[in-house]
């Protein structure tokens, strides 16, 4: 994975497979605290205790197509490379919360990459799931909820490329507002 946004796209698949109806992605970056934190919270089926214990073992997966799963181990690896950690909280039937912390200034902390593009894909192809994106920096906070946007715009799905492009621009512009110098978001023109 070349960017943190791709790791996010990857681990969100776990939430989708766990039949979550609401998935929240939160990114907090702080230059002062030297912190970069990604949190993914879902209300899916949760992880059973025996799997939770070794869920970051690449050879543990609930999938049947192949016997290994690299999503969480990869994220853990990237976090630990920077002196950070991966924390997983889960309760069967309630949902799962995954938190990856990175040291913000560490040279091995990957760039976030095209998070807007990732989020657009998620809301476009999963019309039954409500996605919330929250980004917090020292200059402010931005929040986007797909459910609120659908209600406000009076649409059932985002399956409309003009609308998707506009939403992408909108999120991009708002992220630029709170961007901390030296850490830029990729905004498509």
């Amino acid at each position: 994975m070349k960017a943190l946004s791709l790791n996010i796209l990857d681990i969100v698949q776990n939430s989708i497979r766990a039949k979550a109806s609401e998935i929240s992605i939160e990114i907090k970056e702080s230059v002062i605290e030297n912190l970069y934190r990604i949190t993914v919270i879902d209300n899916g089926t949760g992880i059973s205790e025996d799997i939770l214990e070794n869920v970051t073992d690449p050879f543990v997966t609930t999938r049947t197509k192949r016997k290994m799963g690299l999503g969480l181990p990869l994220l853990k690896y990237h976090a630990e490379l920077t002196g950070g950690a991966l924390e997983i909280k889960s309760e069967k039937g309630k949902g799962t919360e995954i938190t990856a912390t990175f040291s913000n200034s560490h040279i091995d902390r990957q760039p976030l990459g095209d998070i807007v593009g990732v989020f657009i894909i998620l809301i476009a192809v999963n019309p039954g799931i409500d996605f919330i994106y929250r980004h917090i920096t020292e200059r402010g906070e931005y929040r986007f909820s797909s459910k609120e946007a659908k209600e406000y715009l009076g649409v059932d799905t985002f399956y409309d490329s003009v609308l998707l492009e506009d939403i992408g621009c909108m999120i991009g512009e708002n992220l630029k507002e709170i961007e901390v110098s030296g850490f830029t978001f990729k905004v498509k023109v």
Partner: protein, 133 residues
């Protein structure tokens, strides 16, 4: 055009465009529409599934193909990622492997539009090594 920074701007723009946008079919019937599934597991994403997904989302609509694009997990063809499954109405699904943007373009122009097969098809009777024996 002024920048869109809030949902209110978005709504305003949509209302301005409305006359042109309403031609889209509202009810999507899976039996009469092309279905494209992009495999988006770790293997797919690492090989570029995001770019392929963006291409299909944008180009199918731009080229006036009535289609629905969804994502799926790992299909077990990790060696051939990015993989996509295309189901034309009334036909069996076909899985294509090693889908880069050039092949994605061929799949739309040839397979989806005319039914002509293109390179990269993964035979449906292929089984993962575990399933043999």
């Amino acid at each position: 055009m002024s920048k869109i920074t809030s949902l209110a701007d978005l709504k305003k723009k949509r209302e301005e465009l409305k006359s042109g946008l309403d031609i889209r079919i509202k009810a999507i019937n899976p039996e009469t529409i092309v279905q494209v599934k992009v495999a988006m597991a770790t293997c797919g994403i690492a090989s570029g599934a995001k770019t392929v997904m963006e291409f299909f989302l944008e180009q199918l609509e731009r080229r006036n193909v009535a289609a629905v694009v969804t994502q799926t997990g790992c299909m077990g063809y990790c060696y051939a990622e990015p993989t996509i499954e295309v189901k034309l109405p009334g036909k069996d699904p076909v899985v294509f492997g090693f889908v880069d943007l050039k092949r994605a373009d061929q799949i739309i122009e040839k397979y989806i539009k005319t039914g002509e097969l293109v390179d990269g098809i993964i035979p449906m009777n292929y089984q993962t090594i575990d399933l043999k024996e």
